[in-house]
Symmetry: C2
Subunit: 115 residues, 2 copies
Amino acid sequence: MPPKLSPVEALDLWQRVSVASVRQDAPDLSARQLALLLTVYLTPPPHTVRGLAELLTISKPAVTRAVDRLSELGMVKRKVDDKDRRSVLIQRTVKGSVFLREFGDTIVAASGNTE
Amino acid sequence: MPPKLSPVEALDLWQRVSVASVRQDAPDLSARQLALLLTVYLTPPPHTVRGLAELLTISKPAVTRAVDRLSELGMVKRKVDDKDRRSVLIQRTVKGSVFLREFGDTIVAASGNTE
DNA sequence: GTAAATAGATACGATACTGAAACAAACTTC
DNA sequence: GAAGTTTGTTTCAGTATCGTATCTATTTAC
């Protein structure tokens, strides 16, 4: 069971993490790109362009572009589905795992220094 | 004292909130815009263009543009500083308060439905 | 086989953002 | 007063993203 946050604590946490993310020279991802990246890493595969477009309620080209960008950064990779070669599976990478681990640490750190 | 999050819980929370934010048709703010908005509302005034640029480590024109955008949306407003008319104070608005309250609720909701 | 359906990528014009540099206005120094 | 400094905005060319529509490739239906 997760700890329960109050609205004020929640916004405070978001502020500190947002500022930390903007400040550090990590690749500056859009909200969509981050949501897509987190989804690929934290929800069970397979992840297709169509499926992600539906989940996020954005257009397929928007997903294609987000995957383009995240691929350039080495955060995810494309893999053609052998069972249906029209489909493209979006998969995790080592670099993406490292990035998200650091991001998780940033959040934890921000949740600790409230006082 | 805030509740302590584990890295996994933290990323999980971020994923759910990010997806919820992208899905709902709330104005889709960039990371910088959101960080600026949260800072204006959650840290003590006054907030100037220069001060925000230094805090976020971004250029002054970038702050001007973010304030332009947030002003269009009615989330913040500009007020010339009477004590130094070169300075512009970035202030809160009712609409921005409502938006952040809802955003806080979104986070709290996401932190509750892990199971 | 040929036609229809599906998945993803690409083309297109429009909008928004980027940092660096130039700018206007207000304040300070002398 | 004039010169210099500071604050925020504007301009500029370059890049990224947007949604709609179109396109290619693959699979399915017949």
